[in-house]
Amino acid sequence: MALSGMRGLSVFISDVRNCQNKDQERLRVDKELGNIRTRFKNEKGLSPYEKKKYVWKMLYIFMLGYDVDFGHMEAVSLISAPKYPEKQVGYIVTSCLLNENHDFLRLAINTVRNDIIGRNETFQCLALTMVGNIGGRDFAESLAPDVQKLLISSSCRPLVRKKAALCLLRLFRKNPDVVNVDGWVDRMAQLLDERDLGVLTSSMSLLVALVSNNHEAYWSCLPKCVKTLERLARNQDIPQEYTYYGIPSPWLQVKTMRALQYFPTIEDPNTRRSLFEVLQRILMGTDVVKNVNKNNASHAVLFEALALVMHLDAEKEMMSQCVALLGKFIAVREPNIRYLGLENMTRMLLVTDVQDIIKRHQAQIITSLKDPDISIRRRALDLLYGMCDITNAKDIVEELLQYLSTAEFAMREELSLKAAILAEKFAPDLSWYVDVILQLIDKAGDFVSDDIWFRVVQFVTNNEDLQPYAAAKAREYLDKPAIHETMVKVSAYLLGEFGHLLARRPGCSPKELFSIIHEKLPTVLSSTIPILLSTYAKILMHTQPPDPELQNQIWGIFNKYESCIDAEIQQRAVEYHALSRKGASLMDILAEMPKFPERQSALIKKAEDTEVDTAEQSAIKLRAQQQMSSALVVTDQRPANGTPSGIQLSLVKVPSMSINEDQNMAEQGLSHENGILSKVDPQTPSADLLGDLLGPLAIEGPPGTDVQSQQNIVSGLENVPNTVEAAAIVPVEEQTNSVQIGIKAEWRAHQGRVVLFLGNKNTSPLVSVHAIILPPSHLKIELSLVPDTIPPRAQVQCPLEVVNLRPSRDVAVLDFSYKFGNNMVNAKLRLPAVLNKFLHPISVSGDEFFPQWRSLSGPPLKLQEVVRGVRPMPLLDMANLFNSFRLMVSPGLDPNPNNLVASTTYYSESTRPMLCLIRIETDPADRTQLRMTVASGDPTLTFELKEFIKEQLVSIPTALRSPMAATPAPPIPQPTSPAAALTDPGAMLAGLL
């Protein structure tokens, strides 16, 4: 009885196959689902054959990716059918459609047990397979003894026993207690004497799981594994059908060697000797052959043998033999072998003695960093990262920097982080370190987290010799035409503190320093302005005797920002203005920042934190685990080894406090120094957390303090629409207050990276967690897997890749649901992937603007509209509002002072980077109306952008933060009790847009 016998099914499959497009397919599928549903409703009239046919159709539809939310009962009920064909379908389809938590499955537990303990061995096989694939805890508790009995039964045939072994493995994973019963260890050892290779293969998998859990208990299995390996690799004592291209079951050989890697050492000299003999034979006897399959199979065995040799920490001679082999592999043409050579060399780094031999291959590894295959490049990067030390750091880091310019988007973040860590860990001298980080910011500023430049500031502050050098470098970068925001920050900070050390050099007088820094002010985000203000104050202080002209200029700036809507900027402006009038006492107040207390690099700390692996312990203690896994669950545990590996820069000894917000630092420093300034952040949250949350690897914070600190971040960063997006915490459910959702986003051209932080605040796990993105058609959004369960007090990160396909104002929605107690909780949250994220401010001169403006004549490329009901605001506020949306206002371009002209570049996949020009004509007599003209090279873009701006001008959602709304009222501090907004989490998140 096969499918060929089920005509209806074949017809359906070919119907689907003949569908011209997805819509047709869906129609056909819906029709079939309707049909099946009707037939199932009327179950009495259904023959077992028909039932079987429909259930297969369901499976087929499910495989195509359609939801099949009914008929599960029918599939399960087939399990109890008396005849084999129906029963088989029941079991197979059930294990595809259902999961272990499904209620129907529990209902079937008795039937399944009857099949397992029954006499029909084909039924036994079916039942064991299904339980092995989807059996849950209930199954473990009620079936484990039966399954164990089958596995060791002498009357049972191998075909049943091999399935029993893997079934037991599943039950063990669901509840280890049911397997670890008295006497089982001996039984397990006996099982390894098995002659049948099928049984032996599955028993070996079972053993791997048991040993990885508790190797001490299974000590007696070790010599048996060595025997098995001898039997296969040396004696080739197996039936012909188990050799694969002449190689005795490569899979069993691999599995056996894997099991051996879970035992820490082999003490018995005889066993050790026999094992090394076999391993030696494999290492020496594996040749490259023409047949691909044979070659792969023998190399599969060889690579596993290499791993085992490394694990056993064999004699030096054998080790160098391994490195020599790997050295050969990383230079071959065959990409698979090259990839594995690099991967295994990275593992080999664990063995202390071989580092020097590996270094001989450095040039070859660097070549692999330029391989056309990203898989190989990733391996090469990991290996270079792992093999880097003080002797080769210069070469390696410089290679990484060079590669950074050509690396793809997906790798840049990892690359920058690794380069920064290496530069910090192994810097031969500090000026080199400063060079590297500045280059890094220059080349990939978007990927350099604040932590990295904070660290530069720390080093420079703490090392006087470095100060003039760093200041001079910062000055050089400022001469470049377009520099990254982060570069502005770090240069401004360094020049504020140490610029006076350059006084005698050309172009470094206070005035010149001021003017080159001040040039950048119009292009920076409002989060950078406070740093610039501090720099101005410092420059002023260092200008002795005072230069009245410079003084007036800077006072003018302070004066201007004293009424700024951003609280941070406003406060600084007011305070610096007042302070700078105090004359000589300014010297004390604005004196150089004190040396930083020694602290651990937040970077290295973060890199360590990511190493915490909650998954099953790996046999190979990968040192290179730093590779960033994209969806990692981090719980409260800390790495056991608190000290960072590798050398810390000794100039700054490492304390426990972590670096963070520069602004806080400055403020705290000031207030502590002299007590004049009254501003001390009353509830400075664990600043550490702040750093963590904003950094590229941002992970967890101790539960309990989350809400507070996160809200703080929101208020602190509300006006940073660029690289690092504010992280929002939305207590989704008021009553349970059980979930926190945070967001971090980075945008670059038409792409974006968003990380969702899903945090469980409870002491019990959140189950049935689902997060789906409902993207509008213009966005391509890839959400990584969201785990079904979030452990207690843990946070899960789910990265999203966003690609903007074409202009639209639609908003993506995150549909998030989970089970709390017995209630399903569901929330829909808007994601901050809105139109203006794909804008990049661009400044345009009159010579460029007017020809463009004229060439885009009339609709649909140029649209004009009179907007009424505009919230009245001064022109300056409107300009700020535009700037905050990345629409860059060009003051003075329009001769009429009541008008405003702005320009920006829009990025999407369908449009090229496209210049957009905006002109606003206001009516000084009536500020509630204005005329808006928007032009771009794409009609949709023009329309969408016009509507977008209109929305912002006309009705600003109440939840919107003050700076964007440009409220004339004084800046509203972030409400600490967002009670009103709680009712609509969507609104909360929308506030961040």
């Binding site: 009885m1 096969a2 499918l3 060929s4 499959i13 297969w56 499976l59 499910f62 495989m63 195509l64 990716g65 939801d67 084999y84 088989q88 379908v89 197979i92 595809c96 084909t122 397979t129 694939n133 075909l159 399935k163 893997l166 493995l169 290779l197 099928g198 293969t201 599955s202 998998s205 039936p239 059908e241 188990y242 079951s249 899979w251 691999v254 599995k255 792969n296 199979a297 599969a300 690579f303 596993e304 990409p335 698979n336 990839y339 594995l340 056309p372 295959d373 898989s375 190989i376 046999a619 990968l622 896994s629 969806a631 990692l632 689902h770 789906i772 890839e782 959400l783 897997l785 079904d788």
Partner: protein
């Protein structure tokens, strides 16, 4: 846990067989299949057969119009999986005689039976072709 899923996908990206050994919701499957198919199908012959995706690896192999994609844990032996794919294909070849995409489409249940005999709970159970095929032959004769 070894093998997490096995997918057979044609050049157009249509899934012809999907077997998961860890539970994923339908949306997750759809997303996952979309992502990895896009990644793997874009690769050429000169590139290696391993693609790192999220926190696991895809080992893949192409036979005419059909791609076999196997998701495995990061520390799995890649070459062993690569040859396991070939063993699966040879087994199907022995049964269907020069297996093609259509055989798998229209004999989905047989493809499933074979896989069931070869992999269970993400581990390899059986590698002897005659042992794998004997239950199916029994059924065909019945």
């Amino acid at each position: 846990m070894g093998i997490r899923f096995i997918l057979m996908v044609n050049k157009q990206g249509q899934t012809r067989l999907a077997q998961y050994y860890e539970y994923l919701t339908l949306e997750e499957r759809r997303a996952l299949e979309g992502e990895i198919v896009r990644k793997c199908l874009a690769r050429n012959e000169q590139q290696c057969s391993f693609v790192e995706h999220r926190n696991y690896k895809i080992v893949y192999r192409r036979y005419a119009s059909l791609f076999f994609l196997v998701g495995v844990d990061n520390d799995e032996n890649e070459l062993a999986i690569l040859e396991f794919i070939h063993l699966l294909v040879e087994t199907m070849d022995r049964h269907f005689g020069n297996v093609c995409e259509l055989d798998i489409m229209f004999h989905l249940e047989k493809a499933h039976f074979m896989l069931e005999e070869m992999v269970m709970n993400g581990c390899i159970v059986e590698t002897s072709k005659s042992n794998i095929l004997s239950p199916i032959q029994l059924m065909d004769r019945a």
